[in-house]
Each structure stands twice: as structure tokens, then as C-alpha cells.
């Protein structure tokens, strides 16, 4: 059942789901629509397209409408409300929420309702943002396709036979299917940017420490970073300002003012990049890159030049070692972090028959509760950290991390931002890389260096690949604590691309068959 009731202005509920968050914010502020209407329109859209897309693991209609009602009341009473109050959002199921289960896409946490809210969830609620539900993801955020979810794959709205990227494929698919105008993701090696690229949406990994990790179920603590996702750069900026900022509950949280990203996005949209120095990363090109991806990237660089940016080629010679370093560091940290799933205090317990020992129950539970990729990474990390191998693997990887950071530092002495394709290929088919872990890992080739170095990075749609008609993303990277540069350059590029193409890329996403 889908509602097609018309609003007073003749704009149907369907139309509300096509609006951007900033457009919705303006209509909510003027009183043209209510948060309840906006939320109901999105919930109806969710109901209609979820059988095809499968972006959500959990939708809470009653709570969402209740939050919308509160946003309307606050606004009517003149209580100070954030610009995004009443705007719906899809939350990745890796952030704890006291009113909804938090599963991380794992059987280990099936049905688990956490006893506290993550800081991100708490800040969204405080701002009056309406959380529609929790989105699907690769189990514990390990993967690049969302196929590793214990609860089934999510389908890319551009082509339902293809993956929506990962690990945050639920969030990216929800945006591309117009189920929500905003979403939250987490990015450990590219899990916000790569899904954004392959679904024609915008995703930002803020500077490490920019958004609190409190209540973000940890995969690799030195790399994990929550961030905003949207269909436009401005929407991502507005959401960025809601969730970012110092949190005493996260000791790695940066104690400094949040960069003025919304102002930067608005400035950028004016389309003047004179004086901005842009570096093209020489190493992110060539073998393994799809032709349509490289073509789209080349065109994007030309656009940046036309906007007045000074474009130069920059070499980052150690980036080619980043993938290897990442697949030692992340599994090592994961093997330690996931030790907490011990079947004793929360989550799954298997085989407790009164006879088996704690250790046996623990092993059986972890065998049945974790999927193959999680097990592979736990074992890889256990290996890399074990005595005799530590220096050769984990120790060396940490040194490469230093070298990658030095490459960035040298590059950012010459340029203000770096650019590259976000991912070497467009969305691959569901199942295509499922049995080949290394092929899957290559999807994060271009995104990983920014996680290792902790700097800020964004993916913004750059067009469709000629050979398959699927979206391509432009990656923009900025120094740590200079997140506003992403938004300025991203918004300028987005505006120019949309003007040249005669509209936003996302408007070309195929109509989904809607269940009625």
C-alpha cells in the first residue's frame, strides 16, 4: 500500500520524497508542510520500495511519527529548533539506539536493544531529526557490498542485480531509492564513500575524531569514523554540523570547533574555485580502473579547471602500499575489538547445555554468530598480532601508515585538496566477488589512504560510466581539520556538473516498481 494523497499545494506525498533535506528544511520552516506529513510520505515510500531494495533492517513507524510530532510541536511553540528538525534520516545499524535493535548486520546481535544511545543518535534526536529506522550493512562493517549482512543483501536502486556498495550499502540505497533524504554511515576503509560513489549519492568521511565514536560498535578503532550521507553536498554539510563536535565520552574526539561546512557548501555553490589548488593523485589510475570511471574522472578534473581551480598532478608513492597496510591494521584491531562478543553479557549464546564449559560455549557461539568474512578477519588479525609475526606484519603496516601520512603531508604543502576516482569500478553484480576476498578488498583502493592518515574525504557524483550506465564518484580529500574544503570544492563541482548535465545525477535513477 502506498499513499498518493495530495497535499494542499497539489504536491503529492511522492513529491515530498524527491526533495532534498535543505528543501524540506525550508518548507518545514515556512510551515508549508509539517514534519508528520514529511515523515509519513517517507515511511510510505519505504513500505513501497523495500521489497525490492532491502535497505532497512528495522523501521519504526510509530516512533518516527512520534519524533515528527515533537518536531512540529517545538516549531509551533517557537522553541529553538535545528534547521533539520523534522527531516527524516536512515541510521546505519552500527550506532546504538535505545528504542530500536542494533545488530551490526550480525546474528551475534540479532534483536539486541542497547541500554544507551550513541552520541550520534542522541545528537540527531536533540536536533529533532526523525530517525526512520536502521539500515543494512556488511556484518560489523566488514565488506564492500553489504552482501556480508546476516540478514540478506541490499539492492542498488540503479540496477537491482548489483550491490549498493558497502559496508554502508543500506544507507546509500535508502538515499538513492528516495526512502530518506539523509543517512548516517561509518567509514573505516571507505564504507561511506564507496557506497556513495556506486549509488550516485554524496558521502563524507570527516576528519578522524570529528564525529564521536561513542556508541558506534567498534570494528577498527583507530580508523572508524562516522559521517553524513545525502543526495547533495549541502545536505551532507547540514547533517555534518548536527553530528560533529567534541564529545567527552570519546577520548579520541577532537576538542576544537566544528569546521563551518554549511557555509563552505553555500560558498562553493557560487561556482568560483579561483585560487584553489587541486592535486590529481597520479597513482590512482591505470590498470584495474574501469574505462568509464577514468573518463568520468577526467571530465570532472576539466570541470574543476573551468571553475578556476589550479590543477596539478601529485605523486603519492606509498599509496600503493596502503591497501596492504589496511588489511593488516584493520583485522588486527578487529580481532581485539570483537573479542567482546563472548556470549556472556549480551548477544547470542549457543550450546549452553549445562555440560559445556564457558570456553566451549564461547567458541560455538562465535562459530555460529559470525559470518565468514568476520571470521577471516579475526583470524588474519590474530595471525598478524601473534608472536613471531608481529614485526613482519602489524609492525610493518604501522610504518606504512607513517609513510602514507607523509605522502599526504607533502601533497598538502603543494595543494589544497587532492582528487581521484572514489572507487576503481562501478557497482559490481551481487555474488560476483563474494568468494574472492582480495577482489572485494580492491573496491577500497582509493579510499583507504585517508583512513590511515585520518584526513577528511568526500565522494560526490561525477556521472555515469558509458559502458554500463552506472554512477561514478569523484573523491575529494582534504587535510585533517579542513573538512570545509571538501564542501567548498564539492558543492562547486556539483553545481557545475548539474548545470552542464541539465540536472542532478540522482534524478536519472530508474523508477522502481512500487508495490501497491
Amino acid at each position: 500500500m502506498t499513499s498518493t494523497t495530495s497535499g494542499p499545494e497539489g504536491g503529492g506525498a511522492t513529491e515530498l520524497t524527491r526533495l532534498t533535506a535543505s528543501e524540506l528544511a525550508a518548507r518545514l520552516a515556512s510551515g508549508e508542510v509539517s514534519a508528520v506529513e514529511v515523515t509519513r510520505a517517507h515511511l510510505d515510500r519505504v513500505e513501497a520500495v523495500e521489497p525490492a531494495v532491502g535497505a532497512f533492517l528495522h523501521v519504526d513507524r510509530r516512533e518516527a511519527l512520534e519524533a515528527a510530532r515533537r518536531a512540529d510541536e517545538d516549531r509551533a511553540a517557537g522553541r529553538a529548533v535545528s534547521p533539520l528538525a523534522g527531516v527524516p534520516l536512515a541510521l546505519k545499524d552500527v550506532f546504538t539506539t535505545t528504542d530500536m535493535p542494533t545488530t551490526c548486520g550480525s546474528k551475534m546481535l540479532e534483536g539486541w536493544v542497547p541500554p544507551y544511545d550513541s552520541t550520534v543518535a542522541a545528537r540527531l534526536r536533540e536536533a529533532g531529526v526523525v530517525i526512520l529506522g536502521k539500515t543494512n550493512m556488511d556484518e560489523f562493517a566488514m565488506g564492500s557490498s553489504t552482501e556480508n549482512s546476516a540478514f540478506g543483501a541490499t539492492h542498488n536502486p540503479w540496477d537491482l542485480e548489483r550491490v549498493p556498495g558497502g559496508s554502508g550499502g543500506g544507507s546509500s540505497a535508502a538515499l538513492a531509492a528516495f526512502e530518506a533524504p539523509l543517512a548516517i554511515g561509518t567509514d573505516t576503509g571507505g564504507s561511506i564513500r564507496q557506497p556513495a560513489a556506486v549509488t550516485g549519492t554524496v558521502g563524507v568521511k570527516p576528519t578522524y575524531g570529528g564525529v564521536s565514536r561513542y556508541g558506534l560498535v567498534a570494528f577498527s578503532s583507530s580508523l572508524d569514523q562516522g559521517g553524513p550521507c545525502g543526495r547533495t553536498v549541502l545536505d551532507a554539510a547540514m547533517l555534518h554540523e548536527v553530528i560533529a563536535g567534541h564529545d567527552p565520552m570519546d577520548s579520541t574526539s577532537i576538542d576544537a570547533p566544528v569546521p563551518g561546512v554549511t557555509a563552505a557548501a553555500k560558498e562553493g555553490a557560487a561556482g568560483d574555485l579561483r585560487g584553489v589548488r587541486v592535486g590529481v593523485v597520479r597513482e590512482f589510475s591505470g590498470e584495474g580502473y574501469q574505462r568509464g570511471v577514468l573518463d568520468s574522472f577526467r571530465t570532472a578534473v576539466e570541470t574543476l579547471t573551468e571553475l578556476g581551480a589550479e590543477v596539478v598532478e601529485v605523486s603519492c608513492p606509498h599509496f600503493e602500499y596502503a591497501l596492504g597496510a589496511y588489511y593488516l591494521i584493520a583485522p588486527s584491531e578487529c580481532s581485539s575489538n570483537l573479542a567482546r562478543f563472548d556470549a556472556m553479557r549480551y548477544g547470542l549464546r549457543v550450546g549452553d547445555d549445562g555440560d559445556r564449559s564457558t570456553e566451549e560455549v564461547m567458541s560455538l557461539t562465535r562459530e555460529q554468530g559470525f559470518g565468514a568474512e568476520v571470521k577471516r578477519r579475526i583470524m588474519l588479525g590474530t595471525y598478524a598480532l601473534s608472536s613471531g609475526y608481529y614485526d613482519a606484519y602489524y609492525g610493518q603496516a604501522q610504518k606504512v601508515r607513517t609513510l602514507v601520512s607523509r605522502d599526504f603531508a607533502a601533497a598538502f604543502e603543494r595543494v589544497d585538496v587532492l582528487v581521484s576516482p572514489t572507487t576503481p569500478t562501478t557497482a559490481f553484480r551481487i555474488g560476483e566477488r563474494a568468494d574472492d576476498p582480495m577482489a572485494m578488498y580492491l573496491a577500497d583502493l582509493c579510499t583507504i589512504p585517508s583512513n590511515l592518515a585520518g584526513n577528511a574525504a568526500m565522494s560526490v557524483p561525477s556521472g555515469l560510466a558509458a559502458e554500463d550506465g552506472l554512477p561514478v564518484g569523484l573523491q575529494i580529500m582534504a587535510p585533517a581539520m579542513a573538512d570545509e574544503r571538501l564542501y567548498r570544492v564539492g558543492a562547486a563541482y556539483e553545481a557545475a556538473r548539474n548545470a552542464a548535465a541539465g540536472g542532478a545525477l540522482i534524478d536519472r535513477v530508474p523508477q522502481l516498481e512500487v508495490a501497491r
Partner: protein
């Protein structure tokens, strides 16, 4: 540099408290081998004089005010437990002795 044996995988699984089937041992041994071969390249560039980085944004001694506040209630703490008894987590036997 690598070549990880089936026995090593079994040992790692034991260290990580993962029960693994015979079939999984074979599959994981092959896959871990491929992955380790690919990532071992990190050894090519990391010279002795390069300091390791454990964290991108180094911070030390982060404190917050030591203030008394409400923690989780007993009910909240036990709410997600697989088994409880007398308001405590109930765990399987931890000693190897005869009952």
C-alpha cells in the same frame, strides 16, 4: 613469505575462540594465504628508521571531569544477557572439575 598451513589456521581459530569445521579449515587456509601474500608487500618499503603510527591523530592523557553520575541500572545491564540468575549474569561452568 607466507603459506599458512591448515594446522596454523586451526591454532589461530583456537586462539580466537572460533570453532571451525573441517571444510572451513581448508577454505580459510587457502584464502588467508592469498590475502597474506598480497599484504606482505608492506615489508618492501618500511625501513628501520620509519617510526610506526598507531593512531592518525595522536592524543595523550585525555581526561574528563571525575564527576559522580548515574550509570546503568542492574536491570539495564542485565537486559541483553543471554542468561541471568539472582540478578547476575549466569555463565557456563568455568572450571574443569567434576561437579
Amino acid at each position: 613469505m607466507s603459506t599458512i598451513s591448515r594446522d596454523e589456521v586451526a591454532h589461530l581459530a583456537g586462539l580466537a575462540r572460533l570453532a571451525v569445521s573441517e571444510e572451513e579449515l581448508d577454505r580459510f587456509a587457502g584464502q588467508l594465504d592469498v590475502i597474506l601474500d598480497a599484504v606482505a608487500r608492506v615489508g618492501e618499503v618500511a625501513a628501520d628508521d620509519i617510526p610506526p603510527t598507531s593512531h592518525a591523530v595522536p592524543v595523550t592523557n585525555v581526561f574528563r571531569p571525575d564527576e559522580v553520575r548515574e550509570g546503568l541500572s542492574r536491570e539495564q545491564a542485565l537486559a541483553g544477557a543471554p542468561a541471568t540468575e539472582e540478578n547476575r549474569f549466569r555463565v557456563p561452568r568455568i572450571l574443569n572439575e567434576e561437579a
